[in-house]
């Protein structure tokens, strides 16, 4: 407690600060530390410059990725994603610093790791392919399929997608409905688009769900895809649809920058989350903790579409869906999207011992015990806790370093994502910095200080595959 003398000094100082603040206003920081500036160049000039620099932009990002990860195509033997299209990738892909093993790291304190600078770079926040421009970047498979079906262009002229297909979710992914478990995947192996959704789902979903689906597939103007000179697509664009990222209500791995942070240099990358299991999620948005899917659906027009800048949105053409007639229907549709089947789980999300292998059962014990995973990823509530948590990764590295124009700062609290169907949705963590499940096990082993042995880590991966 401060002494009374100290308190008096404090009050004197605060008092004078209050008085001076009331009398004079200070200069704020420049407006574009928060707001998006207006473009100054003709579109054709900006496009030509972007195109000229694109090879260097991609080369720089590839260099960073190669330095951080082993990106090889190394599938697990016989383990496929739920749709049977992509193999699940095997092994730890984050590269270790020279002369250090995973066990060495696990034996060090966070302070030692920070002091010696040996946190693997792949565990640090992952930069956007071009931080200064940011914005939504779609994988090639999505771009090609939307072009084929809709003749709508999702290809940017300033950047390309940066991770290889074999480390991405399968495409197009299957769709499972809570209202029709008996049907299994209802996608027919197609990517749902505005051109085909009615034929595929008529007779299966209700009229309000159908209208919600139509809206989720309708393109609306977005920061990089619009009709103004401030866009990153060659032609004046109709925009993007919600399901351009959340392909078939799962994810295609498209990424953008968090709308919740400024200035631009410190906005971290966001990997698209799956919408599977939305019916059980109580909070939405990795940082905003929006309390309903309706709130989220409505507000994404301000955030995923326009980076949390309603001023820019107004100029480019904001779509503000009507809360009762449109948002509610979009929510109705999202709320029937089920997780993929997990035949080894019982109704409480626990492994059925008669179906699971000894290694998987051992993995579950570690998950709920020594590994501490189950403290947030609670089986009974779809492996979530409907909370946000701060892993405080900055205990392990010096914050404020700049990598590829991205200033790495503490992430702060991020919501607990579900682990149901987790093998279908690489890469992992909110920014996609971890390529495989084995990477996530190493990451949390270090961050939580659980000191797992190799056979325990292997058991955890085997268990995660059953979810």
């Amino acid at each position: 407690m401060p002494s009374s003398k100290r308190m008096a000094a404090y009050l004197a100082a605060v008092g004078s600060a209050v008085v001076s603040a009331a009398l004079v206003s200070a200069d704020p920081l420049p407006p574009d530390t928060t707001y998006r500036p207006l473009p100054t160049m003709p579109f054709s000039d900006a496009k030509a410059l972007d195109e000229a620099q694109k090879p260097q932009v991609m080369e720089r990002q590839e260099q960073l990725l190669r330095q951080r990860y082993d990106l090889a195509d190394r599938p697990m033997n016989g383990v496929m994603m739920s749709g049977g299209k992509n193999a699940v990738q095997d092994g730890v892909r984050v590269r270790l610093p020279d002369g250090v093993t995973w066990d060495d790291l696990a034996a060090m304190t966070p302070e030692e790791i920070k002091e010696r600078g040996v946190l693997p770079d792949g565990f640090k926040p992952l930069p956007h392919v071009k931080q200064t421009a940011g914005g939504q970047v779609f994988p090639d498979r999505q771009i090609e399929e939307i072009d084929r079906q809709e003749s709508r262009n999702l290809r940017r002229f300033d950047v390309d997608f940066d991770l290889p297909d074999h480390l991405m979710p399968e495409f197009p992914p299957p769709i499972f409905l809570t209202t029709h478990p008996e049907l299994g995947d209802v996608s027919r192996g197609e990517l749902l688009t505005i051109k085909n959704f009615y034929e595929i789902l008529n007779g299966i979903i209700t009229p309000v769900q159908m209208e919600g689906l139509r809206l989720l597939l309708t393109p609306f103007p977005q920061e990089e895809f619009n009709q103004t000179e401030d866009r990153k697509v060659a032609d004046q664009s109709l925009g993007v649809a919600c399901l351009d990222c959340h392909s078939n209500f799962n994810t295609n791995g498209a990424f953008h920058l968090t709308p919740d942070v400024r200035p631009q240099a410190s906005r971290f990358r966001l990997d698209t989350t799956s919408l599977r299991g939305m019916f059980n999620q109580q909070i939405h948005g990795s940082k905003r903790s929006l309390r309903s899917i309706e709130d989220f659906t409505e507000f994404e027009q301000r955030t995923a579409y326009f980076n949390g800048d309603h001023v820019s949105a107004t100029r480019k053409g904001a779509n503000l869906p009507d809360r009762t007639n449109q948002v509610a229907m979009m929510a109705q549709m999202q709320n029937i999207i089920d997780f993929p089947p997990a035949p080894k789980l019982d109704p409480f999300g626990r492994l059925d011992p008669s179906k699971a292998s000894e290694q998987e059962l051992e993995g579950e014990r570690i998950f709920l015990g020594k590994g501490r995973c189950g403290e947030c990823h609670i089986p009974q509530t779809s492996f979530m806790d409907n909370n946000m948590h701060d892993l405080k990764l900055e205990r392990f590295y010096k914050v404020g370093e700049t990598v590829n124009d991205f200033v790495m700062l503490p992430d702060g609290p991020i919501k607990t994502f579900t682990l149901r169907g987790i093998k279908d949705t690489p890469p992992y963590l909110h920014d996609g910095r971890l390529m495989t499940l084995a990477d996530t096990v190493e990451f949390f082993n270090l961050v939580l200080g659980t000191k797992l042995a190799q056979d325990e880590k292997d058991a955890l991966v085997a268990y995660l595959l059953t979810l």
Partner: protein
């Protein structure tokens, strides 16, 4: 406690790319000069670079002045130590900025801006503990703003050398902010608010089942 080492600078340099890339060309000045398409001519500044240099120079100048003031007027040793560190670090950074600005032909201010002039006037009227608290609280605000300005330049600037300067300086300024908050906590007796989530070793229990 307040000793600062050059380590953050060294680390930042190590991870920086050889050349910063141009930002969003849609926001460039129409008179921007290029060596070849997509590659800027050297010292091609934009408005952000010039404003950044001006604001950082004025702020840095004030940090040095306030730091010197603290040697006469502060009471707590921690505040004097902090003030001395500000004089040292901001003199070094100021010299670096000055040479970069000269190369890029950016005129720098020769006196503090109105906000810092007001703060100086206020600090000159205080001494002892009242000075300590007012100085450190002002430092916290200044360093918060400086962190944002540096990050802004990294993203919005155009002169690769100024951007590199911003990237190299940012970890140090974050460190200063952390120190200022620690000193403030000591002065006021409040619970330490360590915004950089310092090294509290979590006692991790091994019984998570529930």
């Amino acid at each position: 406690m307040l000793r600062w080492t050059a380590a953050p600078f060294v680390l930042a340099i190590a991870v920086l790319p050889a050349a910063a890339q141009i930002g969003n060309p849609g926001f460039m000045g129409a008179d921007t000069r290029f060596d070849e398409p997509g590659a800027l001519a050297p010292h091609q500044t934009n408005n952000s670079d010039r404003l950044f240099a001006r604001l950082i120079a004025a702020g840095g100048m004030a940090e040095v002045e306030f730091g010197r003031l603290s040697q006469d007027r502060a009471e707590a040793d921690a505040v004097k130590d902090f003030g001395r560190l500000m004089v040292e670090d901001h003199t070094t950074a100021g010299d670096k900025l000055k040479s970069l600005a000269e190369e890029a032909r950016i005129p720098l201010p020769d006196k503090p801006d109105p906000d810092h002039a007001r703060m100086r006037k206020k600090l000159e009227q205080l001494e002892g503990e009242a000075f300590d608290i007012a100085y450190i609280e002002g430092q916290i605000v200044d360093h918060v703003k400086t962190v944002q300005l540096l990050a802004w330049e990294i993203d919005s600037g155009q002169d690769a050398q100024l951007q590199r300067f911003a990237a190299e300086t940012l970890p140090t300024v974050l460190h200063h902010l952390q120190l200022a908050r620690q000193v403030h906590s000591e002065l006021t007796g409040s619970v330490p608010r360590d915004t950089l989530a310092a090294a509290e070793a979590d006692d991790q229990e091994q019984d998570p089942a529930r």
